[in-house]
Symmetry: C2
Subunit: 284 residues, 2 copies
Amino acid sequence: MNVQLVPSAAELRARLSSIRQAGVTIGLVPTMGALHAGHGRLIEQARQESGCVVVSIFVNPIQFDQKDDYARYPRALSGDLEFCDSRGAGIVFAPAVEEMYPHPQRTFVEVTGVTEHLCGRSRPGHFRGVATVVLKLFNIVQPDRAYFGEKDAQQLAVIRHMVRELNVPVTIVEAPTVREADGLALSSRNQRLSPDQRRIATQLFQALQLAEKRIAGGVSFPDQIKQEALAVLGQQPQLRVEYLEIVDPEEMQPVAHIAGPVRVAAAVWVGSTRLIDNVLCRPG
Amino acid sequence: MNVQLVPSAAELRARLSSIRQAGVTIGLVPTMGALHAGHGRLIEQARQESGCVVVSIFVNPIQFDQKDDYARYPRALSGDLEFCDSRGAGIVFAPAVEEMYPHPQRTFVEVTGVTEHLCGRSRPGHFRGVATVVLKLFNIVQPDRAYFGEKDAQQLAVIRHMVRELNVPVTIVEAPTVREADGLALSSRNQRLSPDQRRIATQLFQALQLAEKRIAGGVSFPDQIKQEALAVLGQQPQLRVEYLEIVDPEEMQPVAHIAGPVRVAAAVWVGSTRLIDNVLCRPG
């Protein structure tokens, strides 16, 4: 393998310092591991635009609002390393929890406004944990560009706001959601689904697609569209809706009337697995 | 004048980028202007340790809990420029409020724990504003070292915690408080004092010195020391005590018993002017 596994922040800084001094640009793909083709797409895009690609793999405890979810989050480092190697990443930064949090963590990045709805509402403290760890990773790696997937659209909005409002010297690059043939968005959590649950999970994207079609067709009342999309999800008694909202793509606030691009975003539970997805929709 | 006045963050970044590429180290002295010999000491120390010294001058609205205090904070840019020039600073970064906050600021750095007492208790939101603007300045300037005065000891503790817990790539350098001949700590706010108030203000350092003497003499009960120090301050009816506390120097939490180094810190009002000061004390 050509990819280098670095568990220490100090060692990573030292290596990147000489890489940077040689004039090589650095691309960072922050992940929680259990890598799939969605991450693959981010790494490949980073490879095209940056001289050295760093993939960070860290299941960040402070962004989990439920201990059980943290404990059960899939971990697969050796497979992830091969995955990164085969896609041309230069360095995998996989720190232990003690490496990222050697002291009690009492400093947090709070991004307000954009976190009021959707996952920010249903997972208290989640985006505080995300923003804090992403800023820590930015400060350790000091990348020229950092890559995030559209599937986590609210996370992307949080990071864009953070970078802009804290003057973080990094360019944020967004890559589109990668889907299975039947439309299910790739997620590390999908591997937890039983075959039955896996079939049911496709309903999420179908509901979003219906909303997209209605919006393109000129329906401008969010409530009407939400009702129809929720009816699609309601066909599956094993699927529980956490939220389904139509928000403006910048500020992630629910819109009262659809007059421009909106994002339809939803979170559902299939058994004990939480799935999120979203689509950017334009009125016809 | 040799010093360069730069009001734009983008222009500052561009200039510093070529300076950095030439292998010159950068020292940052963040200030709110109305510069005095305390700032002068920070600049001189930065000059000794760094190839290029950047002094930022920005009266940061989001760290003021009272609008009136923000409005009345002294501003003296042309004098400050000469001051920086005479001490060998290379660049003065003096952005407008719109330059630092071009968008509604909804992202904040919250440093908890160390902000629970002292100024953190009496000025809600103050350290959130300080930590946020200092991180913005760090991200704009990307200094190797940043210089802060011991007079603002809790601010220093906040910044040290932030830097450590967010992995900010900067070394924090602390410089001792500079005092007038009669002991009054230099502060931009001192210029607001009438001659009468100026005389009364010296009582603050006298109270702290008494505490220092008692601690060096072996008194280990904070309450006893506080009572004596408060009695000194109480001799001046025109002086109002906001707080006087004995805290551990790292975490800034009040101690129940003095067994190692402590910081005695106080905030008082003389007329409408708020003054703070502190001394690091070692038990005898």
